[in-house]
Symmetry: C2
Subunit: 299 residues, 2 copies
DNA sequence: CTGAAAGCGCTAACAT
DNA sequence: ATGTTAGCGCTTTCAG
């Protein structure tokens, strides 16, 4: 087409306000530019990070991101036709969901350390090693009675982090005191009751390692209320390094989980699907972030 | 169709794994089941609430929600065809965006107190009255030197909340001390420097009213670091009642902004568009939530 | 280089 | 009660 003609066309396009119909394009092309992110009940702060990461990568390549809250076991929404999907824990283990996605021919990526059938790939970090690194930090500081607040059984991460806790104790020649392990639900409220129980023990633990930041923030509140100074009388550690960790006072020592990058890599895998064939696996690095809530125990 | 036939058909559908093509449906129907929520740079915690509200209402009616991060002044993504859009502050004032939406024939609802041309409706709360209620609370407690951390000029809310602060002072017969007004950006970092400046004044204010929770959390941290006990030596008030407010220690006295409901009502307006004709306006109620950070000043 | 036509998969209207 | 057809707006292919 002559450039002169092209210009004339563009003029008319502008004058008439013509806009290509996306629906027709999608139908014709047999694909949309929409990626779904499915989640059920992760910590709010964690989800926020995931969203940012997914949005950044998706938008950069001209894709929109739809976030869908799914009840576990429930069917995915048929509402929109998706170019791909990202599964956030604990939905990463939802077999029915994955079966349904495969049947619809929707490629998906999971934020999980296991490999599932049919996935384009999965992205993860080494939760167990990270938990061990935190424990080394605590033990290195001189702590011996270290309590642990585990996450819900439904989240694969819960098991890995707890395994890291136990392994570290064993490696340091310390015995595991089951009464020092409480189970929470990755939210603030459950952290409150777990911490209350743990701090009521005698002798009291000198450190509490909560397996996510929300629960660690709750430990902080309970400690303050019982007049315990942090970190002098009680060390507190979290996990995830969500924005909450640095906003709380004292700022939390935690494990920086690259949630944002994980989401961004996951979306990237979906976009690059054309290239690759066999499922990919990405293991992203974590980082121990020492802030103000951990110190050597008194006495 | 006979029910017997219907059953036979369903069987075949199941056996062949037939699934209706959404693209074709959308094209045929001339509309999608996707609603866009546009935002630029609100507080993370506030955005989280908005997302929950939008998701709840949308998903309940079988609509998906796409969140789009837009640079201010930038064009909306052409990626997906939307059934409607919700504009989050400060994008509510973006004329170019609205023009572009109107041209594309996409109905939109704004989270703003002003009425804009072409919108289906807007939903809001009375920020100024809410700020006044918080001030009455503080003044009633006996505070006279009350500092204020305002928000960024780009957010309409900033002006309203500040106006409420000033009006309350005047109503109580107190003069406005401009050196007691700092400006932040609705985030934690800016709250840190604003608080540092304010607490360095002599005489020191007995209360600081931050115009959102993130900045109020920063005030808490600065107060702790300078050895000021909250609320005995310094009262702190926030605004929004995001999840952060109750997770921080001490828990924040704040204004409960019904962000979640605002988003849900906004999505509802879009869905009910068929019914209504002239732009609607919804004003949702706020609520003063007194928690642990405010008390009568010492002396 | 420009113009015409077929077809993506669905649904609503019409004919049997 | 069932079967057929036209057309949504785009893109790709083929013909002129």
């Amino acid at each position: 087409m002559r450039s002169e003609t092209r210009i004339r066309v563009m003029e008319v396009v502008a004058r008439l306000g013509y806009r290509a119909n996306q629906h027709a394009r999608n139908l014709r092309a047999g694909q949309s530019r929409l990626i779904g992110v499915f989640y059920s009940n992760p910590s709010r702060n964690y989800l926020g990070e995931i969203q940012i990461g997914a949005l950044q990568r998706g938008n950069a390549e001209g894709f929109s991101i739809a976030f869908e809250h799914l009840e576990e076991g429930g069917p995915p929404r048929g509402g929109a036709a998706l170019a791909g999907a990202v599964l956030i824990p604990p939905l990463t283990e939802d077999q029915a969901l994955m079966a349904s996605l495969m049947e619809a021919g929707t490629p998906f990526v999971r934020l999980s350390h296991t490999l599932a059938e049919g996935e384009v790939g999965h992205v993860t970090m080494d939760d167990e090693a990270a938990a061990q690194e935190m424990m080394r930090h605590l033990i290195g500081l001189g702590h011996r009675r270290i309590a642990f607040i585990a996450g819900p059984l439904s989240h694969p991460q819960s098991h890995l982090r707890e395994a890291g806790y136990r392994a570290s104790l064993a490696a340091a020649g310390l015995s595991v005191d089951e009464s020092l392990i409480a189970r929470g639900a990755f939210d603030y409220e459950s952290g409150l009751s777990a911490a209350t129980g743990l701090l009521g023990r005698n002798p009291c633990p000198t450190a509490i390692f909560a397996s996510n930041d929300d629960m660690a923030a709750a430990v902080l509140a309970v400690a303050f209320r019982s007049g315990l100074r942090v970190p002098q009388q009680l060390s507190v550690a979290g996990f995830d390094d969500t924005p909450l960790a640095s906003v709380v006072y004292p700022a939390l020592t935690t494990i920086s989980q690259p949630s944002r990058e994980m989401a961004s890599v996951a979306v990237g895998m979906l976009l690059d699907k054309r290239t690759s064939e066999s499922p990919e696996k990405a293991i992203l690095p974590y980082r121990l972030v020492v802030r103000e809530t951990t110190a050597a125990p008194e006495v």
